[in-house]
Symmetry: C2
Subunit: 358 residues, 2 copies
């Protein structure tokens, strides 16, 4: 059967369908558990989550499912605190802070410090699968995870990144096409020069690694799933499709914006977080584009925009929110996650039956 | 069978595989005829070709095949001759002209003037299929083509462009994903905001038009063909894959550059022609990027860079050539076009047989 792939076997799940880890709200325990209960792999996006909060989220998820799920962590990188850029960007964003009556810019905490403590929680809590974004953890951490029989999933945006992940012994590789919403997982070259469409990326990655490949980017329904398998992937990862599900913790404004958007409404921007990410175009992206050369590194800029994004959401104003979304937005729907999973499986079955008549 | 689709029926060809019209050299009669003789649809990219030359090319192609083939024309647009930009860009490109000992910049002829005369030649020569890029011809021309039973293929990069093509009665729609090499076919919005990956673009276009859709962008082999069909396309259009064929008129330097490139080596640039196009990154693209705000409209800039590109090629120097290529470059091969066609058909058969076992 189409769903009996290396990805299902390695992850020990029924369907090789992974709910993308979307850090910052959408991946609530209800969503993660619903996907895992439906035979896929739910993923908690822990990038911005403190280790203590992560433990609570894992416990909450376990209350809702006895199935396997993943936690996704951001691999820390060297951050340059360019005081000149910081001073300039704070000044540039002052009008937004004033607009929402926000106090002086708070200092940014370094969420990169979470990483090691998050890994400790994941091991202690015996989370069965860990996925990584923005790089590859060092060998010691990978060895530790292996010795605990925790499966590892890396994220690549180019063939060379996939090859490096394989060399380090990561068990599955998500190949993230340029259609994908949210942050680019690039960790070798400039992310702007690592934007390869899923149709071109998947076969080129598959040809250059032995590790099973999970396709990501623009996949929204059974057509995308079968297309990904035809390209050589052994699994798929969908973010935007699950973001608008009932159980998703994304704000209603974010969900509505996705549902009413079209395929060319998204933009790539570094202005929300310091890292390139795809979201629905809005006033903040357009107005801030002029400052792209002075944007401080992630996660500094991410901390600087946090309360602006929050205040914008609280004012029911999408102009200054980060409305992460991929390019498949016309295919998004509001429905329970279990129902979407069942539709995805049925559509895939149907498409394969149709192909049998070709 | 998989190849009996609306595209094969409308075009009256065996396999719904179209060789993309690549204006400016690659689509020599030998290539066009080889594709058509192999059961696909060869296309002559006539964008830069004078009506007299076009007639000769059609005659030369007819000597090599009695099968149906297409001619592709560029739909003219309003060109603003911004003298300030022109003065500045000529100055900016002076070092390149000096480098190759080229005389004072010649005035640019207006190749947009070719269009109506090209259509006349196409009708007189009873070319069976016409494809369009950069827009939609006016109703009078479409009526004339219809009355001659000449099939029409339009190019869309967004759903709205596809809908407009359908409204005008174009018979097939090529949906060009962001992976595609060469010029973006966008004609409604800024091409930089119409860059949708093939995986996301095809199903969204298919859902919004009744006209059969041909997938383009990043398709290089049987995997891409089956993936495109799974996404809902009724045919595929491949450019880069055919550009490196023996019969292609692309220069050896261009072919070699494609074969040794990888998936993240291409860039989108307006600096060669004034219109956004994807090619392998080189010195010209990198150095000229700083002038992107003063680049004159297509086809003015195209004429301004023509002898620089030519001189660069003659000096066996790829630094200043337009090395158009899509993102599937790792999958490119040097072989006769008929052999590639046969491989594509076999790979598609095999993939479909494989899927029958899923």
């Amino acid at each position: 059967m189409w769903y009996e792939t290396a990805v299902s076997r390695i992850l020990n799940i029924s369907y090789p369908i992974i709910q993308a880890p979307m850090a910052g709200g959408p991946t609530r325990p209800g969503l993660v558990a619903a996907i895992s209960n439906s035979g896929g792999l739910g993923s908690f996006g822990a990038g911005y989550t403190s280790p203590d909060k992560l433990r609570l989220e894992i416990h909450a998820t376990r209350k809702l499912t006895d199935k396997r799920f993943a936690v996704n962590v951001f691999v820390p990188e060297t951050v340059i605190r360019d005081q000149d850029k910081i001073k300039k960007i704070i000044k540039a964003m002052k009008p937004y802070r004033d607009r929402f009556g926000l106090d002086e810019q708070a200092a940014s905490e370094d969420i990169n410090l979470y990483f090691h403590a998050q890994i400790k929680v994941i091991i202690e809590e015996k989370v069965p699968v860990v996925s990584f974004t923005f790089g590859i953890p060092d060998g010691e951490i990978l060895d530790m995870l292996r010795s605990e029989n925790i499966k590892t999933i890396g994220t690549a945006t180019t063939v060379d990144e996939a090859i490096e992940l394989e060399k380090k012994g990561v068990e599955l590789i998500v190949a993230q096409g340029s259609e994908a919403g949210g942050h680019r997982g690039s960790f070798q070259k400039d992310p702007e020069h690592s934007l390869v469409g899923t149709m071109a990326l998947i076969p080129q990655v598959v040809d250059n690694v032995k590790t099973p490949v999970v396709a990501a980017g623009g996949i929204m329904d059974g057509r995308g799933i079968v297309a990904s398998f035809a390209l050589g992937a052994s699994g798929v990862q969908l973010g935007t499709a699950f973001l608008t599900c009932i159980e998703s913790g994304a704000s209603d404004l974010h969900k509505e914006a996705i549902i009413k958007s079209n395929e060319s409404d998204t933009r790539l921007t570094r202005m929300f977080s310091g890292k390139l990410a795809r979201g629905i175009n809005n006033r903040f992206i357009e107005e801030m584009e002029q400052y792209k050369d002075i944007v401080p590194d992630y996660p500094i800029q991410n901390a600087f925009t946090r309360d602006i994004r929050k205040a914008s959401a609280e004012s029911k104003d999408t102009d200054y929110m980060s409305l992460w979304a991929g390019q498949g937005v016309r295919l998004s729907r509001s429905l329970p996650a279990a129902e979407l999973m069942s539709i995805l499986v049925d559509q895939t079955d149907e498409m394969i039956n149709k192909i049998k008549d070709w």
